[in-house]
C-alpha cells in the first residue's frame, strides 16, 4: 500500500514536525487567497518565494508539475470567465473579452496555482499518517481527525486493489480504451468498492488487535521546538511581507 507522499531521504521540510508544516502551509495559503488580484506583481513575488522553497526542499520540479494536473478543472473554469462575465469589454484580436472577467480569471488561476504548489509541497514532504498526527497535535476535533485517519487507511487500500485489478485485466488482454471497455470498467468499479470495503474492514481489525483506539500514534515525530517553528514560519512571514509591501506601494 503506497503512502500518500513519496518520502525518501530527509531534506529540511521532511524533518520538520507535521503540525508546524500544516500551520505554515495554511497560513501561506490564507495570505495568498486574501491578496487582492491587483497589483499583479505581488503574485510574481509569491511565485519567486515558492520557487525558492521548491528548489531547496528536494521535492523536484517534475513532481510539482505532474501533480499540478489536479488544477485542470480550475483552469477550464477560469478560461470561460472572460467570455461569460459582463461589464466593460476589451478587444483582443478577434475576441471581445469582459475586463472584470479577465481579472476574475487571473484571480482564480494565480491563487489556485500558488495554493496548489503549497499543498504539493506539504504533501510531498509529509507522510499521510504524520499529517493526521499533526492535526491531532493542533487539537483539530477528534471526529475530523478520525475521518482523515480512515481516509489514510482506505486511500492506500483502494489504490492497491485497483492496481491489482488492472493488472489482472491487462494480463488477460484487456485494453482500457474506447466505449467498448466501459462496461468492464464499470463492473470493475463495483467490485473495487466491495473489495476495498472488505479489505478496509480487515485492516481495521488488524489495527484494533494491535491496540488501536482511534488515535494514530505519533510515529517518530518529536514535539515541535521553537527552532522548528521559526524555520517553518519563514515562508508565511515572507509572503506576508511581500503582501504588506504591495499594499504600502499601492496606497
Amino acid at each position: 500500500m503506497p503512502p500518500a507522499g513519496d518520502v525518501s531521504g530527509a531534506s529540511w521540510p521532511r524533518r520538520l514536525p507535521p503540525q508546524v508544516k500544516i500551520v505554515a502551509a495554511v497560513a501561506t495559503i490564507l495570505v495568498i487567497v486574501l491578496t487582492p488580484p491587483r497589483p499583479p506583481w505581488v503574485f510574481l513575488g509569491y511565485a519567486l518565494i515558492l520557487a525558492a522553497v521548491v528548489q531547496s526542499s528536494g521535492v523536484g520540479w517534475r513532481t510539482v508539475f505532474s501533480r499540478m494536473r489536479v488544477e485542470v478543472p480550475f483552469v477550464a473554469f477560469a478560461v470561460l470567465l472572460p467570455f461569460i462575465a459582463t461589464g466593460p469589454e476589451v478587444t483582443l484580436g478577434p475576441l471581445e473579452l469582459s475586463e472584470p472577467g479577465l481579472w476574475a480569471a487571473w484571480n482564480i488561476l494565480i491563487k489556485a496555482t500558488l495554493g496548489i504548489v503549497v499543498s504539493i509541497l506539504l504533501a510531498a514532504t509529509t507522510e499521510a499518517p504524520d499529517l493526521v498526527v499533526g492535526l491531532q497535535r493542533l487539537h483539530v476535533p477528534d471526529i475530523l481527525v478520525q475521518i482523515l485517519a480512515a481516509m489514510v487507511r482506505y486511500v492506500s487500500v483502494v489504490t492497491g486493489e485497483w492496481q491489482r485489478m488492472s493488472r489482472a485485466r491487462a494480463a488477460r488482454g484487456f485494453h482500457g480504451h474506447g466505449p467498448r471497455s466501459w462496461p468492464v470498467l464499470a463492473r470493475s468499479l463495483g467490485t473495487l468498492f466491495i473489495r476495498s470495503y472488505e479489505r478496509g474492514e480487515r485492516v481495521h481489525l488488524a489495527m484494533l488487535s494491535r491496540g488501536y483506539t482511534g488515535r494514530l500514534p505519533a510515529a517518530g515525530t518529536a514535539a515541535a521546538t521553537s527552532a522548528d517553528w521559526s524555520v517553518a514560519l519563514v515562508l508565511p512571514l515572507t509572503v506576508l511581507a511581500v503582501a504588506a509591501l504591495s499594499w504600502w506601494v499601492a496606497r
Partner: protein, 266 residues
C-alpha cells in the same frame, strides 16, 4: 497456568452462517498448539475471538485467567498478538519501521523503548535490513515476517497465527518456521498445512464445522488416516509422519533440513 481458555464458544455471522458451535480449548503457558481444519471450519472466526475482535455470543474466552469482555479487551489486545493470514491486511504504514512501531506506540510506551522494541522484533525475524522500506515493496515471505514482527514488538504472552505458511515458497516457509521455533512463547497456529503443524506444534486440535473434534499429540492425529479423511485434511503426497521421528519434527528444535545440514558439515 492456562494462557488461553475457550469454553463452549458459539458464534453465528450476521447473515446467519454458523461459524462456531461450542468450541472448548485450553492452551497452557509456553505450549504450541496447531488448530487444524478444512476451509470454512471456523478457524479464523475462532482466532478473532481470542483478541476480542469478535465478542462471544455465548460461552467465553479467558486470557491468563481474565475473561475477555468490553472491560478487559484493551488489556487482552496487548497480551494476545494476532498475525493475520494476509500480511497486506496487517501492514498499512508507509515504512516497515513505522508499522512495527504502531503496536508499542498504541501501548503508550516512551519513544526510546519503542525504538528498542522495534529493533529487537525486526532482528528476531531477520528483517532489520528492510526497516526503512515500504511494506508493499517486499516479497510475501518478507511481508509475513514483518507482520510477525509487528506483533512481537508488543511482547505478547500469546501469539496467534492464521495460516502462517500459506502461499510461501519452501525457503520462506522454513524461514518463518525458524522464526517461530525460537520464540518460545504460547503459540496457537491456525493451519491446514499438516506437515507444518507437525514441525512446529507438539499438540494439535482439529476444528471441523465449528467444533473441536480431536485433540492430541500432532503425530498421533496425523497418523489417523480415517480421522483426517473425515475432516477433509490431507497430508502432502508421499509424506509419512512416522518417518519424521528421527529428524526431530515436532520438537523444539530448528527445522530438520538445517540440523541435518549442520551434522553433515561437522
Amino acid at each position: 497456568m492456562t494462557a488461553v481458555e475457550v469454553r463452549d464458544l458459539t458464534y453465528a455471522y450476521p447473515d446467519g452462517t454458523v461459524a462456531l458451535q461450542g468450541v472448548d480449548l485450553a492452551v497452557a503457558d509456553g505450549e504450541r498448539v496447531a488448530v487444524l481444519g478444512p476451509n470454512g471450519a471456523g478457524k479464523t472466526t475462532l482466532m478473532l475471538h481470542l483478541n476480542g475482535l469478535i465478542e462471544a455470543q455465548s460461552g467465553w474466552v479467558a486470557v491468563n485467567g481474565r475473561r475477555v469482555g468490553p472491560a478487559t479487551v484493551a488489556a487482552v489486545r496487548h497480551e494476545v498478538g494476532l498475525v493475520f493470514q494476509d500480511p497486506d491486511d496487517q501492514l498499512f504504514m508507509p515504512t516497515v519501521r513505522a508499522d512495527v512501531a504502531f503496536g508499542p506506540m498504541n501501548a503508550g510506551l516512551p519513544e526510546s523503548e519503542v525504538a528498542a522494541r522495534v529493533a529487537a522484533a525486526l532482528d528476531l525475524v531477520g528483517m532489520t535490513d528492510v526497516a526503512d522500506r515500504a511494506p508493499h515493496h517486499l516479497s510475501l515471505g518478507q511481508r509475513r515476517r514483518v507482520a510477525i514482527a509487528t506483533v512481537l514488538a508488543m511482547d505478547p504472552a500469546v501469539l496467534v497465527l492464521d495460516e502462517p505458511s500459506s502461499n510461501l515458497d519452501p525457503a520462506a516457509r522454513r524461514e518463518v518456521a525458524d522464526t517461530l521455533l525460537q520464540l518460545g512463547r504460547s503459540t496457537i497456529m491456525v493451519t491446514h498445512d499438516l506437515s507444518y503443524a507437525l514441525q512446529l506444534c507438539p499438540r494439535a486440535v482439529i476444528l471441523s464445522e465449528g467444533r473441536i473434534v480431536a485433540d492430541g499429540p500432532t503425530r498421533e492425529l496425523l497418523a489417523d488416516a480415517a480421522l483426517l479423511a473425515e475432516h477433509r485434511l490431507e497430508l502432502p503426497y508421499g509424506f509419512d509422519p512416522a518417518l519424521t521421528d528421527r529428524v526431530g519434527f515436532g520438537a523444539n528444535r530448528p527445522a530438520p533440513d538445517e540440523s541435518a545440514d549442520q551434522q553433515r558439515r561437522q
